[in-house]
Amino acid sequence: MIIFNNVTKIYPGSKIPAIRDLTTEITRGEFVFLVGPSGAGKSTFIKLLFREQLPTKGTIYFEGKNIARLTKGQLLRHRRQIGMVFQDFRLLKQKTVYENVAFALEVLGRSPRVIRQKVPDALAKVGLLGKEKSFPSELSGGEQQRVGVARALVKDPLIVLADEPTGNLDRENSRQLMDLFETINKEGTTVIIATHAWDLVDRMQKRVIALDKGRLVRDEKRGSYDV
């Protein structure tokens, strides 16, 4: 489903590559942790996949297509298959929980009927039924991040990309969130998570791709955070 082929990314104005000659493959339905020290290139990996950034060298294939070669319409379709989850949640403060999740469908031009049907489903999945009318400021960090996950899920993405989703959460909330990602993954969605939360990585026993200074240094099927 995803193939990185000798991918190098050098940001304009910088000499050191953020990703260096990286080759790997991720298949449909996988659950992958991206780990590595700060500046290793985890966020860059995710930005390349979303095609927020283009590789300097090499090719990234998504569902068989070179994503550097997508037309405008194809790029939109590509991004619409991806659900993004952020460290800082990125919810709209002036919208309620329900509206935040519905927004992901409005932006895609879905009808009110579809929205009314899908949003409660997504909120149920993340365990936030009953909080529809709350504003983000009235929620705990863990709840806010679950709204973020519901927003990513509501459009039935092929893949969920999360960049340090537990970065602003306490231990208990982080654990719950990872369990949520595991459930989502069990229902068939591919999940890729960049994280520093070593204890969770160790506990989950999923595939671990470790980066260091842009290089792929380790790739284990049932890996842990450290060697």
């Binding site: 619409r80 990125r90 709209l92 932006v107 879905r110 009110p112 459009k155």
Partner: protein
Amino acid sequence: MFNSLRYCLRQCFVSLRRNFWLVVVTACIIAVSLAILGGFLLIAVNVNQIIANVESGVEIAAFLLDGADVADIGDRIIRLEGVEEVRFVSKDEGLVEFGKSLGDEELLAGLEGDANPLPDVFRIKAVSADIVPQLAEEIGAIEGVEFADYGEELVSRLLNLTGWLNTLFMGISVLLALGAVFLIVTTIRLSVIARQEEISIMKYLGASDAFIRFPFLLEGMIMGWLGTLASTMALGAVYNKIAAFLQQDALIFFLRPVTSPEKLVPIFIGLILLGTLMGGIGSTISIRRFLRV
């Protein structure tokens, strides 16, 4: 498509409300600039009509040489095609008219009889205005006629004056329009800034560029449209008053204002389109410069 449109409309009105006072000021500037432009257009239409009236009312004056055969010349003029009416004004009558027009007949004392410097004159009316120049030329060629004149001076002065007014009004309108466009750019920029975060989230959610841009475009156009609506309404009311006033006072016929809808409606529709276009241009500039999608 329909769902997106509804979202865009809603978004646009939220923005308009958020920037309420700025929107009001911008719309007012647009209103003023277009009111001036519209006023100028109305004046131009009316001046054109006045010129046409003056031209059609213009008489040709044929000045005769001393000792010319008045009866023969009168005959030949009457036989020319397009002549409606011929009136003979002898040099004596001419002197009396001239004295009256000066308001002091005593001034001309001593110029009667052989000392009279004025020529005999035929005053000729044509059946229509457009043949006046041609007719004047033919009359001027008649033997015994020194020259024929039809007030081209007055007409050319009017044209000159309107030329000046045109330039002046155009200049002012263009400056005001530029100011209005600039204000729209600023207002839309503020809207863009206010929604920066939302826009970046929308990109991650897979919104198309058009979907992100359209509410801003609409916002600018609505501002332009509101401004023009206000200006055309004010202009219409003022013009109506003036027109009614000019019509009730039995003024000279050529000062009658233009009231035919065929001439006025296009002006007002044009103004509304122009205002909307200005709004569109302003927001497009702003979107290009400040909205990174």
